[in-house]
């Protein structure tokens, strides 16, 4: 049992932290996120040059062969700097699905371009009626002469407006809620019949609603096995959860620190408001919330080498619950302790809080995962 970092991991952590501190101001973030892409394409290239886009891919695929610890270290720093990047959508979701669901030349060319920062991807798994139930999939994929024909609608596809390629979940068998019968398909952005409707979430990131009418997909662009798309999708999403929570922890940590700084500077009644015990204790609670979340994150990262174990599944659910709950607590307290300033668009606090709220709702919120945990811990 050990919580120490290897030399390479310490280097990754330090260089990511340096990068955020030296190159990434909140003003720059606000500029980046208002780009037509929702991020800075130059920065994405920079991340590729630093080798960070290669982290989660296997060495034989041109990757870095990194593990959950590496991703945690990177994502926590990206969170601390509130850096808008399509890392989750393009690398952790699209890229990882490509890596395990395709092979041969297709896989090699896609991964090469992803790792070089030359391609954007998006995964369309959510539908209007599905909420967090991943299996609730109604987009239909009918057999056609050359492959499949897709019809239906997908919603809030992360990075959708910028993606060069999509991976779309569709039903090839079973009923609307069945886990079996879902198949994943690789679809180019310009494909006929694929219509995009662009919108922004409150954290500034771009998402798209997709309408698919008679979208033709060649048979060789199936990702993973036919009718077994659910397992693959669920596994890739689960693998991304610790990274998502690490980003949230970075956000929470920043909010706690900036609140402490603010209450030290802000004077009322002739003294810094941070000298009041009632406020100090609330900031101790914010600090405690970060430490609890970090502890559960370490626990989950430690069990990541056995993804299928019940222990790891339980850790994942617990982590998503606690990150959601503590994230909300830290966010709300940060705004409250900043007083009226906490409500201004000018200050970074509200923007960190909005990103936290989006992350809480992504892949199932705290309530959803608590029920899943209860099923494991207490039975159905």
């Amino acid at each position: 049992m050990n919580f120490s970092l290897s030399e390479e991991q310490q280097m990754l952590k330090d260089s990511a932290a340096r990068f955020i501190q030296q190159e990434y101001s909140f003003e720059r973030r606000q500029e980046d996120v208002s780009n037509p892409e929702g991020f800075d394409p130059g920065l994405w290239k920079q991340l590729a040059d630093l080798g960070w886009l290669a982290i989660p891919f296997m060495e034989e695929n041109g990757g870095f062969g990194g593990d959950a610890t590496d991703l945690m270290l990177l994502m926590e720093q990206l969170g601390a700097g509130l850096v808008p990047t399509p890392y989750l959508a393009t690398i952790l979701l699209f890229g990882k699905l490509v890596e395990s669901g395709t092979d041969g030349d297709l896989r090699a060319s896609l991964l090469n371009r992803l790792i070089a920062g030359e391609m954007q991807g998006a995964v369309a798994f959510m539908e209007r009626q599905s909420r967090y139930a991943l299996a609730d999939t109604t987009v239909q994929a009918k057999r056609s002469s050359t492959g499949f024909e897709l019809n239906g609608e997908k919603t809030l596809v992360l990075n959708g407006p910028v993606a060069d390629k999509f991976i779309i979940s569709a039903r090839t068998g079973g009923g609307a809620q069945d886990k079996t019968g879902i198949t994943l398909f690789l679809v180019d952005a310009g494909t006929e019949g694929l219509e995009l409707n662009e919108l922004r979430l409150m954290d500034g990131q771009l998402v798209a609603n997709l309408t698919l009418s008679h979208v033709l997909v060649p048979a060789q662009h199936r990702v993973g096995q036919e009718n077994r798309g659910f397992e693959l999708l669920e596994r890739v999403i689960n693998e991304s959860l610790p990274a998502v929570c690490a980003e949230a922890l970075g956000l929470m940590h920043h909010l706690t620190e900036t609140t402490i700084e603010y209450t030290r500077a802000r004077k009322q009644f002739g003294v810094p408001i941070g000298s009041f015990q009632v406020l100090q204790h609330r900031m101790v609670d914010m600090f405690t919330a970060c430490e609890e979340t970090r502890s559960l994150l370490y626990r989950t990262v430690c069990s990541s080498d056995n993804l299928a174990s019940p222990e790891h599944r339980k850790n994942l659910h617990a982590l998503k619950v606690l990150t959601g709950l503590r994230g909300k607590r830290v966010g709300n307290e940060a705004i409250q302790l900043h007083g009226g300033m906490g409500l201004t668009d000018e200050l970074d606090v509200g923007h960190y809080v909005k990103r936290l709220m989006v992350l809480n709702s992504l892949f199932g919120d705290a309530d959803y995962h608590q029920q899943k945990l209860a099923e494991i811990s207490l039975g159905m």
């Binding site: 050990n2 402490i260 941070g274 000298s275 015990q277 101790v284 502890s295 945990l373």
Partner: protein, 389 residues
């Protein structure tokens, strides 16, 4: 970062399991459950641990410790609660022992450490006073030098098991001028000394473990002073950090959680087990998640300790979360018992009898967020030392 167990760890776990299998911890537990035989059971159990060299595994090797790694300490605790074996009493082994081997003279180490390890000497803690609780540094029990002795006058309060104790370690005032913290000394006092009286304090669980200890011109040889006069506060503070680490009681809370799960599966309401009740499931898993986090929080602190970084304010965090979780478990247990939570007779964990135990645990459990420095004081410590206020 990983949580894998080495072959050595697995071998160690086997050794621990076989120790618990042959040492009949349930007999000690039974004795300890009855106030009349509590002391006998506790001492018997410690002697068995001592024979195994496991009475104080966290002590340095040269003083009789076992030199365990954090993984070994973690495995031991997990197996201990699985076997339902008692924990050791903290006063000698976890509290005064480390102060003596860190700050005591060679003569004091030779005189006191063996009795602490083998259980011959029962220790209690003399810190709080009727006028000095959270503001411990304002303590007034005076020790005045007279020849080769100190003459001690004053009162200590909330002294757990003082009625059983052979020795008490006390913070006493040797200097009333200057900063309150600077005039405090650390003194070891024989409970058989003339002038000491112990009066019981009955607590809201209906039992007697707390006491008030009065000192009326008690003569204590100067050789029982630890380290230097006026340094007692420093010694005690380093000890409190250790005490707070032990206070988290992760393994015990895990055991309680398992018991609650089992009870909820058999407690019925309208023909359905409480384990299916939505409100119960929400409360149960909320505690479970916090406990899962606490377990790794403690491991992180222990691993910092193993790297020779002393537990500072992080141990305050463990104290706060550990005791909050203990109380949440007590509360869920007494409420799971329903009206039977008010029952004041019967023992054991089966049938409606578990209500009686749940009530005692709940009532006495209120102490957890008060002792060892109240949780509010812990927040002050974190605010000052970690957040920099």
């Amino acid at each position: 970062m990983d949580n894998t167990l080495s072959d050595e760890d697995l071998k160690f776990r086997e050794e621990v399991r076989s120790f618990f299998a042959r040492s009949e911890p349930d007999k000690a537990q039974q004795l300890m459950a009855n106030p009349a035989t509590y002391k006998e059971g506790a001492i018997q159990w410690q002697k068995q641990l001592f024979k195994q060299n496991w009475a104080a595994p966290f002590w340095p090797l040269e003083h009789g410790g076992a030199g365990w790694t954090i993984t070994q300490a973690y495995l031991y605790e997990s197996e201990r609660v699985k076997a339902d074996a008692p924990d050791v009493l903290p006063f000698g082994l976890k509290m005064v022992g480390p102060v003596i081997y860190t700050y005591g003279s060679e003569a004091q180490k030779a005189r006191f450490l063996p009795g602490i390890l083998n259980g011959d000497d029962w220790w209690c803690q003399g810190y709080s006073e009727p006028g000095a609780g959270s503001d411990l540094a304002s303590l007034k029990t005076r020790a005045v030098r007279e020849g080769d002795d100190y003459i001690v006058n004053g009162s200590k309060i909330w002294t757990t098991y003082a009625q059983h104790a052979d020795w008490i370690f006390c913070l006493v005032r040797t200097d009333a001028s200057g900063k309150p913290q600077n005039g405090i000394s650390f003194l070891l006092i024989d409970m058989k000394s003339p002038g000491i009286t112990v009066s019981p304090i009955h607590s809201i669980n209906g039992l007697h473990s707390l006491n008030e200890v009065h000192f009326d011109n008690v003569r204590v040889p100067r050789e029982n002073l630890i380290g230097e006069e006026g340094q007692g506060w420093t010694y005690a503070k380093s000890l409190l950090a250790h005490e707070r680490t032990a206070i988290a009681k992760v393994a015990d809370s895990k055991k309680r959680l398992d018991k609650l799960r089992a009870l909820a599966a058999s407690e019925l309401q309208g023909g359905r087990p409480m384990i299916e009740d939505e409100a119960f499931r929400l409360r149960f898993t909320t505690i479970e998640i916090e406990l899962m986090a606490l377990e790794y929080m403690e491991l992180r602190v222990l691993s910092a300790l193993a790297d020779n970084r002393s537990p500072g304010a992080e141990s305050s965090l463990l104290k706060i979360k550990g005791t909050e979780i203990q109380q949440a478990l007590h509360e869920l247990a007494i409420e799971l018992a329903g009206v039977y939570g008010g029952v004041t007779a019967g023992a054991g964990d089966t049938g409606h009898d578990f209500g009686n135990q749940a009530r005692q645990d709940f009532m006495y459990g209120r102490a957890a967020t008060i002792y060892g420095g109240s949780n509010e004081i812990q927040k002050n410590i974190i605010a000052k030392r970690v957040l920099g206020f």
